[in-house]
């Protein structure tokens, strides 16, 4: 599989995420959309780091640099943290508004 395949997949994922974020009428689905976005990015990073970043030779043997992978891992971590916070806030919202439909949470406007 070449880089293009990965990129296509990741961009599809990204678009799906954006679509979910913009259209879903449920906070949880929005969260899932966000996760999709983040994961598409992670996929990008890994793919790029596999195909693009030049391998450098340390003491004779050729070694790959893992920058992309590292970023991806951090991305996963942050995504998890974000999800946690998001869910907590959704709880608060539910407590205050009795609903998690994003379009019903619009007392602040203008």
């Amino acid at each position: 599989m070449s880089l293009q395949h990965y990129l296509v997949i990741s961009s599809i994922l990204f678009s799906l995420g954006i679509f979910a974020v913009l259209t879903r009428k449920n906070a949880i689905s929005i969260l899932m959309g966000i996760e999709l976005i983040l994961n598409s990015c992670n996929l990008n990073f890994v793919a790029f780091s596999r195909f693009v970043t030049p391998a450098e030779t340390i003491v004779g043997s050729e070694v790959f640099r893992f920058d992309g992978q590292i970023i991806a891992i951090f991305g996963i971590v942050l995504a998890a943290a974000e999800a946690a916070v998001f869910l907590a806030i959704i709880l608060a919202i539910y407590r205050e508004f009795g609903s998690i439909r994003p379009d019903e949470v619009d007392t602040l406007k203008g």
């Binding site: 995420g17 954006i18 966000i34 983040l38 942050l78 916070v85 205050e96 994003p102 619009d106 602040l108």
Partner: protein, 491 residues
């Protein structure tokens, strides 16, 4: 010079480390202290900020500005630029903590977490100000964002606060996600995460035609979404009025100053270091498009501020407008532009925080954030009213207040680059802004309230007020503040 290894870096990393340590200390102390009323944790965090400040000064003495020190294999970088922003952020945080001490809307049971989070967010902002690697940029941004989400929603049993947090996190998550995608594309094109490397690589691949301009363009725009959301620039500003209105006032003040400043630090580093090369600029003139963005930002901010009745929300819009002013300086890529931003940020720190402090006081005493609550303040609390007038007119940019000099250096830099149209729009905007600032002054001075009994404030309050008011009057008149651009360079 050579990037330092991890262990050697720690010495230069001491300010951040101190912050983390004290954050932990705050939590522990919070567990130990039984008396909910005691302000111990706040003072601990203040102490932490103090120690960190000392550390910053020490580290600053270790570097000489023209030769920055890359730390942790070049993940972050210690230079005058970073130091300046760190000090600025420290001051902002200190002010926020002092506000929080006065503010009465915060839940006493959650003091520990609150102050710990404040320290944490400061830590994140330090990283934003100094990170030179895509990874660090993303991490620092997320750190700041996550903590800010929590702080924004910190008022338990306040629907507005929760809503603010919800909108903030949704918006922030999407924005940072988009940014991350952009980052990944950049990473893909450059094959490295280091900003200075990136600028070289991107320039070369653009020249060799290895990648199309459009892809770079999309990447930059995606990243702009993330940074623009931090500095609340059009069209990524829409979260800020709602969040500012819903969040606790000290946090609003903090966001409007500190997080904006950190955002600008990130912006400057990313665009100036990463994409400031002439080769890149000639194929992608992001400076021009961002000039338009800045014009839009200040216009939208000022116009939307006109009809506001809620002072907090009004100040939110005004801070959007000021973001626009700052953005003018940011697109210039000239030392004058940088210096102007630095100077303006200092001024903005004092006048905006001062204004928010008055909002806190009035919210406590009169129990309202609406303009009507400010009626007859001139007679009820002359000093507070006077201070507020000073802050507001300084925000408008009326001589001899500092705000005018801030605008002066900005517009000077802009016109120096020949962008007369931008300067003209900016100046017209400051005329418009007079109108809504003056509405508050009008309420305070020209109108009378039904209850005329004077409000009483502690001397500490007045001391803190004067801490903001006096610089707001004098910064512009003193010579020393004008010379940052000479010392601080960005490479």
């Amino acid at each position: 010079m050579e990037p330092l290894k991890n262990i050697e870096s720690l010495a230069y990393f001491s300010p951040e480390i101190l912050l983390v340590v004290f954050a932990a200390a705050v939590i522990i102390a919070d567990l130990l202290v039984k008396n909910r009323e005691s302000e111990l944790v706040a003072y601990i965090s203040l102490a932490g900020l103090g120690c960190s400040l000392v550390a910053i000064l020490i580290t600053n003495s270790l570097i000489n500005s023209n030769e920055p020190i890359p730390l942790f294999f070049g993940m972050i970088r210690l230079d005058g630029f970073a130091v300046f922003f760190k000090i600025l952020l420290l001051l902002a945080t200190t002010a926020t903590i002092l506000f929080s001490l006065r503010s009465e809307e915060l839940d006493v049971k959650l003091k520990g977490e609150y102050y710990a989070l404040l320290l944490a967010v400061t830590f994140g902002m330090f990283l934003m100000a100094s990170s030179t690697n895509l990874l660090m940029i993303f991490i620092s941004l997320e750190t700041v964002s996550l903590t800010s989400y929590i702080l924004a929603g910190f008022l338990t049993h306040s629907p507005r606060s929760s809503e603010a947090a919800f909108k903030y996190i949704t918006y922030g998550a999407v924005a940072s996600g988009t940014m991350l995608f952009g980052l990944s594309m950049i990473f893909g094109m450059a094959g490295t995460g280091d900003l200075s490397q990136i600028s070289l690589q991107i320039a070369s691949v653009l020249e060799s035609g290895g990648v199309s301009t459009l892809s770079v363009l999309i990447a930059i725009t995606f990243i702009l979404a993330g940074i623009g959301y931090k500095i609340a620039s059009v069209p990524f500003h829409m979260w800020s009025p709602d969040v500012y209105e819903g969040a606790p006032i000290p946090i609003t003040a903090f966001l409007s100053v500190a997080s904006k400043a950190a955002g600008f630090a990130l912006f400057l580093r990313f665009f100036h270091v990463g994409f400031g090369k002439p080769e890149i600029l000639q194929s992608i003139d992001w400076g021009f498009i961002l000039a338009i963005v800045s014009a839009l930002t200040m216009t939208v901010g000022n116009l939307a501020a006109l009809p506001q009745r809620n002072v907090k929300r009004l100040l939110a819009y005004s801070s959007i407008a000021h973001g626009g002013y700052l953005l003018m300086g940011a697109v210039l890529l000239t030392p004058e532009g940088l210096g102007a931003i630095f100077f303006y940020l200092i001024v903005y720190l004092f006048m905006n925080l001062g204004a928010f402090y008055v909002v806190v006081l009035i919210a406590n005493e009169a129990g309202t954030e609406m303009i009507d609550g400010y009626r007859g303040l001139a007679t009820r609390a002359p000093l507070v009213a006077g201070a507020m007038a000073i802050f507001l007119f300084s925000l408008t940019g009326i001589p001899p207040l500092a705000g005018f000099f801030g605008k002066w250096v900005l517009f000077y830099a802009v016109i120096g680059e020949g962008l007369y149209w931008l300067a003209f729009i900016g100046l017209l905007n400051s005329v418009v802004s007079l109108y809504y600032y003056a509405r508050i002054v009008k309420a305070m001075y020209f109108e009378t309230s039904e209850d005329t009994n004077g409000l009483s404030f502690s001397t500490g309050t007045f001391a803190l007020l004067s801490v903001f008011a006096i610089p707001t009057i004098f910064i512009g008149l003193l010579n020393i503040f004008y010379t940052f651009s000479d010392k601080i360079t960005l490479q």
